[in-house]
């Protein structure tokens, strides 16, 4: 490279990421075609074998391509799907589903009880379906008394079974196609019974779906849906404004304002179900003291972060669950009170020491804060604010920015491998169940020394919480279930195993010429009912 070009390059370095791919966004959509510019690429399209990746892009396509026995509407309420009715047994250990007659897969084979049995058994199989285990582990057997009746049994009472069946990983695939292309080949050549079938698929780049003429619910509103991967937010936005795409997801909140001024664009916002927080590593001695954990919570101005960093597109939480999660109960309040934080630290034996950092037995309170770059909204700025806020009460938090690809692995370590004291995390309850959310995060691990069972990465352990969660799972009465769940939320909130931060809104946008785009609270932008 000629050194005289360096100067020019410096300027270009700042601009290049925005300018380059815009040129690629050429063709306008044909009539009846909806083009969706996604922030994540679609690589595989199989509910088993590692599930739809990448999240959420693959799941968003799966919702167009496949139907499930039960379904969610845009508010995450469970509605009939391939099963026109269902009955949960009073002991919560089985569900009886009545299938819609005459449903066909895209390849023309019938979707009957045998096909459903094949699918459920495939999802139960840990070898073929290693992901989404908490959703499918409880299932123990499938029975098919006749061609349109399916009974699914669980070993223990499991109130969330309908949620599992409505979850995208419960997508029903064509057994004939699996026989044809093999277990491993299906992810690239998927056949379902949803409103759209695959026309062409370039993994990682583009997926084109066309309307399925023989769909049981009638022909869908759009003729074609094109999923296009556009990584950079600014590029997605300019593609939307020029009309190269009709729908985009994941609009950064600071770019919403200019977008609302575009007369051709509608901004779609929906409060999310994913509360962001910093998991506290409870195996560290100073953090085992609840007073220290509460002090950390009092030190962070969560309300101000929601207003100033997220421009009001976020809220301070009042529970370990997000506001719109089924079973959410307001059990607490985020309070910013530095004096109280300092008092709690002093009560726990931490006294002001050299250079403003609190000490106990001559050891300063120094914490390693792990944060990813770009996995959660505003992750690095928020981590910086938290670190600066903790400094003000005398806690020295050092940020380690972890590469996105390595982040989940750093979180889910066995106890000896945990390198962080605080780590940013947010769980998205993709089956819309608050109980599932609480169990995934706060149910005691079988063995705290090993890798966490699900996402209880900070090693939280409270027998009372476990009992409340078990009670919620065993009760068929939704009111009693929610009461038990509320108790669990209260216990967890008071134990403060997290520094609770904010609940963000999901922001997508569509051109005004397109209607029926849904933004689900679980970060999915759903186009299967959209109309061009």
């Amino acid at each position: 490279m000629d050194r005289r070009h360096f100067l020019g390059l410096t300027g270009a370095a700042a601009v290049a990421p925005f300018a380059q791919p815009v040129a690629r966004a050429l063709a306008q959509s044909a009539p009846g075609t909806i083009t969706y510019g996604q922030s994540t690429s679609i690589v595989t399209l199989d509910p088993a074998q590692g599930a739809f990746s990448n999240y959420p892009g693959g799941y968003e396509a799966a919702l167009c391509l496949f139907d499930r026995l039960l379904d969610f509407d845009a508010d995450m309420k469970i509605v009939p799907g391939l099963a026109q009715s269902f009955q949960l047994a009073s002991d919560l250990k089985s569900i009886t589903l009545k299938l819609r007659p005459g449903v066909l897969f895209h390849d023309g084979t019938p979707l009957d009880a045998a096909a459903v049995k094949f699918n459920i058994e495939r999802l139960m199989d840990k070898a073929r379906n290693p992901t989404n285990r908490p959703l499918w582990d409880p299932v123990t057997a499938v029975e098919t008394p006749d061609a349109t009746t399916v009974i699914i049994r669980t070993g223990a009472p499991y109130a969330q079974l309908p949620n599992s069946l409505a979850h995208a990983s419960g997508s029903i695939v064509s057994p004939a196609q699996i026989a044809k292309v093999g277990e491993k080949g299906f992810a690239q050549a998927p056949v379902g019974a949803g409103p759209f079938e695959v026309e062409s698929f370039k993994p990682g780049t583009e997926l084109t779906l066309k309307a399925f003429d023989r769909y049981w619910g009638g022909k869908p509103a759009a003729q074609k849906i094109v999923f296009k991967f556009i990584a950079e937010a600014a590029t997605r936005i300019s593609a939307l404004r020029t009309g190269a795409v009709d729908v985009i997801d994941s609009v950064p909140v600071q770019l919403v304002q200019p977008l609302t001024q575009d007369p051709n664009v509608t901004v779609l916002r929906k409060p999310g179900l994913r509360p962001i927080g910093l998991v506290i590593n409870l195996t560290r001695e100073p953090l085992a003291d609840v007073r220290v954990r509460q002090a950390l919570n009092y030190a962070v101005p969560v309300e101000t972060i929601a207003q100033r960093v997220f421009f009001g597109f976020a809220k301070a939480p009042d529970s370990p669950l997000a506001f719109d999660t089924v079973g959410h109960a307001a059990v607490g309040k985020s309070t910013f009170d530095q004096a109280k934080a300092k008092a709690l630290l002093a009560e726990a034996g931490w006294k002001p020491g050299a250079s403003g950092i609190v000490e106990k037995d001559g050891k300063p309170l120094k914490l390693d804060l792990y944060a990813p770059d770009g996995l959660f909204p505003g992750d690095i700025p928020v981590a910086e604010i938290v670190a600066a806020s903790l400094k003000q009460i005398g806690v020295d938090a050092q940020i380690s920015k972890i590469e996105k690809g390595a982040y989940w692995d750093q979180l889910r370590q066995d106890r000896a491998g945990l390198k962080w004291d605080l780590a940013m995390f947010g769980f998205n309850p993709s089956n819309a169940s608050g109980l599932y959310h609480m169990e995934s995060l706060f149910k005691a691990n079988k063995d705290d020394a090993g890798r966490p069972d699900v996402w209880n990465v900070g090693r939280y352990r409270n027998p009372k919480v476990d009992a409340a969660l078990a009670a919620a799972n065993a009760d068929a009465d939704p009111a009693k279930q929610n009461a038990a769940l509320a108790e669990a939320q209260k216990l967890v909130w008071d134990d403060a195993p997290y520094i609770w931060l904010q609940v963000n809104e999901n922001v997508s946008a569509a051109r005004k010429s397109v209607s029926g785009v849904e933004v689900w609270p679980i970060v999915f932008t759903v186009v299967r009912r959209a109309k061009a």
Binding site: F6, L9, A14, Q257, I305, R308, A388, S400, K401, E403
Partner: protein, 282 residues
Amino acid sequence: MADIAAAPRRRRRRPNLHLLVGGSLLGLFVALAVLGPTLAPYDPMAQDLFATMEPPTAAHWLGADQVGRDILSRIMAGTRYTLSIALASVAAAALIGVALGSIAGHFGGRVDRAVTGFVDLLLTIPNLVLAIAIASAVGSSPTGLTVAIAASFVPSIARLVRSRVLELREEDFVNAAVTIGMSPWRVLARHVLPNAISVIVVETSLLAGQAVLVGSALGFLGLGVQPPAPEWGAMLGASREALEIAPHLVMAPGLAISLLVFAFNTFGDGLRDRFDPNMQQR
């Protein structure tokens, strides 16, 4: 006094503008690197959540960033990171490159082939990939960044030094030194290397400009320093989404990087004009 005017005059060196401009700019940056944090009007880490993304004002001359930190103070304090990464990587590359190049050139034969092979191997590893590999293995750190940049600069220095040494090896004064029985190492250190210094100096000063650019690019991608340290490339990367609504966030670090690269390149050009015999004959 026509006879005096006609008398052959000693050729006067033209005032070297490049050297002057580049040198004084560099001096300014070095001063900032040393004194930056003390001169800065604010603590570069101090946040004011009620001044987030504020455009330039009398209180914040270059505005405030996403979490309300004074950008001018961050640029001043950040000079230290950018400059030290650039200088350290170039110094390391020069040390290794000169050693490899001069050994290869001076001893020739099998040694030359082995060293040249190794250098060519280094050339095949892109610095970006190396920096990402180091960051994912041991975490992002200025040291990792320095190693990655240095490794990518070693080949160009080694090749340059090797060819210069090959040239010098045939000079009479070198042959004379060999003839009187000086050890090869002594010949290299006393007679060959001192004559190669000018090309090394010119090359490293130009590479320093490139190091600033590569270092900032890697910082932009999120490798290198840990937040909240005010490294310029990282500042640029963190603000790129806000380009449309708060262009001042990108402008300040962008200008700072450009100016430092400009300083190094101009200074390097000036040095070359001064030392390169081909340029002096003009």
